[in-house]
């Protein structure tokens, strides 16, 4: 007999078993839906945390403010020196006029400030350099370097280095994010493992109800794969159905929490993530579901196979 006929028969019995054991299938699908939903949520929140951390890191910088009478040469000297440092990723120059324009833009709704500004004869703002480091931890070194330059302010024209004003805030933020990342990974692992075990156990119970059936198949002379196949097919169906449910459920879920997540996390929108990373989510949720269902069934039937 051809292998193809065997595969056809096994697949057919897998489908029939899935339908006829309706209640058992339903509970397995429900549990696996929850598991896969947890997995998807872990994936999305991990991405959210990571992207938020990146965004925050990108916002950290050291600004060097120059006195209003600092010369272009002085500023250029400092800029060159900074660019020579290995820790420095970029240095952006902001001249006095741009600084004023930016100041006006930022306070455009505050008429009193704008009026006060208009009453001044000359631009009160100095030029500045925005320095970005390659790593958050390297700001300290850059700030120290600039501090040393500041002490010679007569020759360098540096008025102020703002890093020390932000230092504690930056340090705290970095440590909060890194801790929450670590806790998040640990929590995700525990939660993920727990739900996988619950799914596995549910499928094992489903197959436990069929243990006599497996015994009969053994006695009639069915080969291992002939007994195991339909259960593995049913397991794959559990995974497929619950995977689909999760992917569909994520749509209204992320749509609903999208604006809230953006308000809370700054730039990360869970709906945008769902929409633009659908292929990845599809692969993880469906692949995970199918693998979990098939493997659970495979292992559970093995217990009752006697040949």
């Amino acid at each position: 007999m051809s292998l193809w006929i065997n595969i056809k028969r096994v697949a057919r019995y897998g489908f029939i078993g899935f339908i006829r054991n309706g209640f058992v299938s339903l509970s397995a699908v429900l549990i696996m839906t929850i598991t896969l939903f947890v997995v998807a949520t872990i994936l999305i929140s991990g991405a959210a945390l990571n992207e938020t951390l990146q965004n925050l890191k990108a916002r950290v910088d050291v600004s060097v403010y120059f006195t209003t009478n600092a010369t272009a040469e002085q500023i250029e000297d400092i800029k060159k020196m900074l660019e020579g440092q290995p820790e420095v990723a970029s240095v952006t120059y902001l001249d006095r006029e741009s600084a004023l324009a930016r100041f006006r833009e930022r306070h455009k709704s505050d008429q009193r400030i704008l009026q006060a500004l208009d009453e001044l004869d000359e631009n009160p703002l100095g030029a500045s350099l925005e320095v970005r480091a390659k790593e958050v931890s390297q700001y300290e070194a850059i700030a120290k370097f600039l501090e040393a330059q500041q002490e010679k302010s007569a020759t360098t024209g540096i008025d102020n280095v703002n890093f020390y004003q932000n230092k504690t805030a930056i340090d705290r933020l970095t440590s909060i994010i890194e801790t929450s990342n670590r806790v998040g990974i640990a929590l995700a692992l525990i939660l993920g493992l727990a739900s996988v075990l619950i799914s596995f156990n549910t499928i094992r119970l489903a197959i436990y109800t069929s243990r006599n059936e497996i015994g009969v198949m053994n006695i009639v002379g069915a080969g291992r794969w002939y007994v195991r196949g339909p259960f593995v097919i049913a397991g794959i169906l559990y995974g497929l159905v619950s995977g689909l449910i999760v992917l569909v459920l994520l749509y209204p879920f992320t749509l609903y929490f999208g604006p809230a997540s953006q308000r809370f996390l700054g730039e990360f929108n869970v709906f945008t993530y769902y929409a633009s990373n659908f292929a990845l989510l599809f692969l993880v949720v469906m692949g995970g579901g199918i693998a979990l269902g098939a493997l659970s069934s495979y292992l559970a039937v093995r217990r009752y196979l006697r040949t």
Partner: protein, 226 residues
Amino acid sequence: MIYYDKVTKIYEDGAHAVEDITLGIDAGEFVSIVGHSGAGKTTLLKMLFAEVRPTEGSIFFGSRDIGSLSNQELLRMRRNIGTIFQDFRLIPTKTVYENIAFALEVAGKSDEDIKADVPHVLELVGLFHKIWNFPNQLSGGEQQRVAIARAIVNQPDVLIADEPTGNLDPINAHDVVEILKKINDLGTTVLLATHNKSIVDTVKRRVVTMDQGSIIRDDKSGKYVL
């Protein structure tokens, strides 16, 4: 055809189920194995299709030692032995048709053969009209007849019946035994384990009597004597 050579079975809990039994059965025989519960009848039969392995001794099926068979050979041998049990052991999620078809599929029969053989064997046991029912929609006697149909559909050389009438009323029990006799008349060797005296007495064939794991009588045309 079947030969038990000094077979002993001691279970893991230390129970001596079968003790040093030597027994030969020819092709085409109808052998009733009788004895009280716990005499070792079921163990003796289970060892024939290798659901239980003997602690000592060998069992030959044809010329082959069952203990030396590979997995594949064992499966093939099982397809050549039909089995019926007290609790019917039908697959509850399959219809009558599918239960019987399953045994044929396992044996590698084509879809055409299966479509032809299943109704045929159901007619033989008088259950053609229940072909699309599920086991839980059948009475005990009907379920046992489905089990018999499944056991014989592959035309096995041997039919093993372990207390097939244990859960049946006398009329159904009588019907089952009549079917077994008919199968035997068609050439299949039948091994029937039972403690039902009236059944054994109506069969009037060879009777092997067991007690505490040993054979105490072996009568060519016997009655139930204990």
